[in-house]
Subunit: 211 residues, 2 copies
DNA sequence: CTCGATTTTCAGATTTTACTGAAAACTACT
DNA sequence: AGTAGTTTTCAGTAAAATCTGAAAATCGAG
């Protein structure tokens, strides 16, 4: 992904070519940002970029279009697309009379966020809880014997398990099929705002006309 | 970290040495699991392992003890410890009459989870929101002109921002200084359980006697 | 079934990230 | 100021993750 760095003056009369360039640059930047997030989350940059591209354009795209736009290899696109399908954040669409497969991103942000949350819990939390159960059995507490250290170990393991267990329960409510309800609950809970340092929460004020 | 793989029969009479070996193995396994999580989160395995070691033992430890137990270099421990201090999940403790620095993990799981959440939002969400604001300005919507694609772009950017904005607000309530209150709210919300496939939620039933 | 178009796979190359170890910096004490 | 114990830094190295490209597999139409 390369940028078109020409200085597009904000105040000049806007012609179609300029608007197009601006659109592409904005898309590229979104793709780059989402890709960077991907690395922070432990998924590959390309996978996140492919998703970003499909989301931000909204269009179904085939492998070659994706390769071209992101400048990555066919194999890389193939693997990224497969993972995204597993995450459930994109889907295949077929054009009749065309053998190519096209891919389109889930367009509803809340469905998308739920899918991401679901997958991250599966990767980040569930394995830990499984491990905690096993570990507890490695050093059994034996009645009568006062093994202070082993009692401490179990206490700590239990506390961690309780913490993540609660998080998982909440997240499943959010991410499960009935998760849409949580969106509402979340909005209610969010009543009294807390706010980030650099007041972003609502810098743009809905003029885009989102649903 | 190496494992002591001797087959410690569950049913045999337990002597002190065996109990010790079991304790160490259980600790090592916890350290390994937490370390693996660390990679999934995009922090270094060693950093997570150091934290796991300090948490699971509960003891203040100095650089040399950590190096020895985890089998990593001095420099690595130094850097990991610094990051953990920045995250706010461990603290320095000094023993009078001893020039070494000792480190001890935050022992309250909820404080720890809040610190982790705070740091992850800072790394994962805030930069994205910053970027979204900038990107919107790259391709301004101009009154009158019907630039359908640019309107679409803004709509999608706004939807993402709203989604993450809400998540951030909720998370700040959870992770902020007043976050302890959320623990209670969370428990309430969690009333009707959802449950994971392999029923872990409460396999061990509080006999460890957590606070 | 055959053929050309398309997708998948994976060994090896590349890039990114993490780690080591020793030198430099720091610190508390004399 | 001198010194010994301790921590930090960072250039170089090692390990891990990611990506490429071409061969193999798959697919759909005829």
């Amino acid at each position: 992904m390369r940028y078109f760095g020409m200085p597009l003056s904000r105040s000049s009369i806007k012609n179609a070519a300029q608007a197009r360039a601006q659109l592409l640059e904005a898309q590229d930047r979104f793709i780059a940002s989402w890709g960077r997030m991907g690395s922070v989350w432990g998924i590959s940059r390309t996978m996140a970029e492919v998703h970003a591209l499909l989301y931000i354009t909204g269009a179904p795209m085939c492998t070659d279009e994706i390769m071209e736009r992101l400048g990555v290899s066919r194999g890389n696109v193939s693997m990224s697309v497969r993972s995204l399908l597993e995450w459930g954040v994109i889907e295949k669409v077929r054009h009749p009379g065309d053998r190519k497969e096209y891919f389109q991103a889930e367009q509803d942000v809340w469905s998308m966020l739920r899918a991401i949350a679901r997958e991250r819990i599966k990767r980040e939390v569930d394995p830990l809880l499984d491990a905690l159960d096993e570990i507890g059995e490695l050093a059994p507490e034996v009645e009568g014997q006062s093994q202070e250290e082993i009692r401490e170990l179990h206490k700590r393991l239990d506390e961690i398990r309780d913490g993540f267990g609660l998080i998982t329960t909440l997240a499943h409510k959010f991410a499960g099929p009935r998760g849409a309800g949580l969106q509402t609950a979340a909005k209610l809970l969010a009543k009294a705002p807390v706010g980030r340092k650099k007041t972003h929460a609502s810098k743009r004020s809905r003029k885009g006309g989102a649903s």
